[in-house]
Symmetry: C2
Subunit: 234 residues, 2 copies
């Protein structure tokens, strides 16, 4: 069995779409939400979408402790508080996949604009807030929540990821690549999240213009992006 995954904020659009896709790909998913009722409602919705999926509901703090792989799918305005609340739960060795995007919409601005984050990016803010030994990998900024959630929609796009440890990125890539039609591309160190997070605003601008759920593909890459023989750390 592939290792299970916890999704913090899985009652939200992106988290829910990801939970459905991962369960559909045979992954056990812990659905985290702030309130137990909302977690259970999300589990019920997820089971309706993926009847043979292995789901379990939990409040965020319990979900964050349940798996080695934890995906953080919360709006930017909740990221700091959420991580603050998880500071005694997360433990060394865990990998936190941060999908947070500092859209200006968090403070009432446009979704095609972003906020400046002191640390440079939401992912770097996350890395600063998690306990020592917890590794943050930035990912999933260009994948449409709606496209994820609609299991009949055939995905065919890349997920740009950034992180400071190659081995952790490979682990996240194995998770995400298990979803049909998604391919993880290593974009470099965690600081590159400054660039990849911005792409959500770009996708939104493109979507508005073209009435679609656009995605990104990187051209010119070799066919084998995550060779198993890769060194454990970069």
């Amino acid at each position: 069995m592939p290792e299970p995954v916890s999704i913090i904020g899985a009652s939200g659009a992106l988290g829910f779409g990801l939970a459905a896709r991962l369960a559909h790909a045979g992954r056990e998913v812990v659905i985290g939400s702030r309130e137990p009722e909302r977690a259970e409602q999300a589990v019920a919705r997820a089971r309706a979408a993926v009847p043979d999926g292995a789901f379990r509901g939990a409040v965020n703090a319990e979900a964050a402790g349940a798996c080695e792989l934890v995906v953080l799918c919360v709006p930017f305005r909740n990221q700091s508080e959420t991580l603050h609340n998880l500071r005694d739960v997360l433990r060394p060795g865990q990998v936190v996949v941060d999908a947070t995007v500092p859209l200006a919409a968090a403070v009432g601005g446009k979704a095609t604009r972003t906020l400046g984050v002191w640390q440079g990016s939401a992912a770097q803010q996350a890395q600063e807030m998690v306990p020592a030994g917890v590794s943050v990998v930035s990912a999933l900024h260009t994948v449409s929540a709606q496209a994820l959630r609609d299991l009949d929609h055939e995905l065919d796009e890349d997920v740009l990821i950034a992180g400071d440890r190659r081995a952790d990125k490979a682990r996240v890539a194995a998770l995400i690549d298990s979803i049909d039609g998604l391919r993880c591309v290593d974009c470099g160190r965690l600081e590159m999240a400054r660039l990849t997070e911005q792409l959500t605003a770009l996708m939104i601008s493109i979507n508005v213009r073209h009435k679609t759920h656009a995605g990104v593909k990187i051209t010119g890459l070799p066919s084998e992006l995550w060779p198993a023989a890769a060194p454990a750390a970069r």
Copy 2:
């Protein structure tokens, strides 16, 4: 005949690659450079690459006045000086395609990092510096200069463009789409250049890791991106 195009900084890598591709596509190209000798050398190199190409060499100021479509392909450290020198040459109605990227390399930093530009982006700095009535369209940040220059390399990627006037973007799209394997995608208003310019640093980071000349494609778009019946202005 399609309208001719001037390229400012066409003796540099991106400008030269673009000149070669555009001439190969049947476009008359004015090759601009700071020194007349360098312009003539670039013309000689361009003729060697595209024997049936229509090239003409000129110093930048002459080149900038020669065509309605002017592509600015200079390093960020030269952008401001170049536009300052062209302030009496550019005239209302012209479209300046700005390909400038504020890489930190301009001040000795890494090419995977960018500088903050007061106006938000190099393209917005350009729009501030050109005479009133000259329209800036931001483009060409994700296309590898080497891939452009190697005419045997089959291109298959998108060019993300941003600008405040839809009609001007359509004009630039007609220019760039004439190159086989390139497709222009409208990313919104000129301020979106804040996001698209960053992609050069992202491409460089990906290229270093994967030893390639990566490009970008946007998935999920309709087949007809620039309908001729589009309104003249957005």
